[in-house]
């Protein structure tokens, strides 16, 4: 293996080491996520003033925008992990890629629902073929496709590699879909109203938004660590270190 990879990164690729590392780090990430989230919610719901045009309705952006950002960010992480998994066949990369998918799908779902709720007032209907909502829907299908393919295989590692390949194909598709949906919207002009943000983003609105962005990132890490640990237990269930954990936790 390449010598530019530091030893600690090498060690981290070993399942029992990562299990302990993730187990130690997760409570901190979760605590940080909850703390920052609470601060962001307070700032967004209580402190920030109502918008000039949209009144209090705009407050949905404090959950909608971070979720939309995470949906894309997690897909990017999944694609990078997939690439590593396919090229170097590192077990941990497979686990990170596959366990990121449900979290990303969750954020995409939140984005779609909150976007619809926000749009009801703008468009008078809960769904419309706005460019961004449509692209989010396609992103959800991409996530579900990766998850579906992963679970269709008997052999989990083979399933992870196939789903990783699909994730890579998907990430090439995301910008293409965005581009074509935008073109499609301009072609069938007339009905589209862009999802406008607040008329101007004052500082009081920006800091809760940014805080929530950081909070959701911390949450993603916390959730990923939990899922990855469980998946490692499943993958390595024949190994001694897993049996030890099962026994000690049974006694506890």
């Amino acid at each position: 293996m390449s010598s530019w990879i530091p030893l600690w990164l090498h060690r981290l690729g070993s399942p029992p080491t990562f299990y302990r590392f993730a187990g130690a780090l997760r409570p901190w990430m979760l605590a940080l996520a909850l703390l920052l989230g609470a601060i962001a919610l307070y700032g967004g719901l209580v402190l920030a003033p109502p918008d000039y045009q949209q009144g209090d309705d705009y407050r949905i952006i404090f959950v909608h925008v971070p979720s939309a950002w995470m949906a894309l960010f997690i897909y990017a992480v999944m694609a990078v992990a997939s690439f590593i998994a396919l090229v170097w066949r590192i077990k941990l990369a497979e686990v990170v890629a596959m366990e990121s998918a449900p979290i990303g799908a969750a954020f995409t779902l939140i984005t779609l629902v909150t976007g619809s709720l926000w749009g009801i007032r703008m468009w008078g209907t809960w769904w419309t073929w706005d460019a961004r909502l449509t692209s989010e829907l396609v992103l959800l299908f991409l996530y579900l496709g990766v998850l579906g393919l992963y679970h269709a295989f008997e052999d989990r590692r083979q399933g992870a590699r196939a789903a990783a390949f699909l994730a890579l194909i998907g990430i090439i598709n995301v910008p293409i879909v965005h581009f074509s949906v935008n073109w499609w919207n301009t072609l069938h002009q007339g009905s589209t109203v862009r999802l406008l943000g607040p008329s101007s983003m004052s500082d009081a609105m920006i800091w809760p938004l940014l805080t929530m962005m950081v909070a959701t990132k911390c949450y993603y890490l916390a959730s990923l660590f939990a899922r990855a640990r469980t998946d490692l237990l499943a993958l390595e269930s024949g190994k001694e270190w897993v049996r030890q954990i099962a026994i000690t936790e049974g006694r506890a």
Partner: protein
């Protein structure tokens, strides 16, 4: 306070949004814990079965002789 909950008349949009956000992430947080418990429970059962089988067979009669 009731002004806060009314959200300027948009309560029906704002609060469900936050509820969806919290509930979906809560479900996402709980799922791995439940899976983990089930996994470890099954593993313990499997270990117990293997131990019982080993005790019942004594030194396994089908074990190859060591040269």
């Amino acid at each position: 306070m009731s002004d806060f909950f009314a959200m300027g008349g948009y309560a029906a949009y704002v609060w469900p949004s936050y509820a969806v956000f919290l509930l979906v992430l809560l479900a996402d947080a709980i799922a791995p814990t439940m899976r983990r418990r089930r996994l470890l429970r099954e593993l313990r059962a499997r270990i117990a079965r293997q131990a019982a089988r080993h005790n019942r067979d004594g030194a396994s009669p089908t074990a190859p002789e060591r040269p």
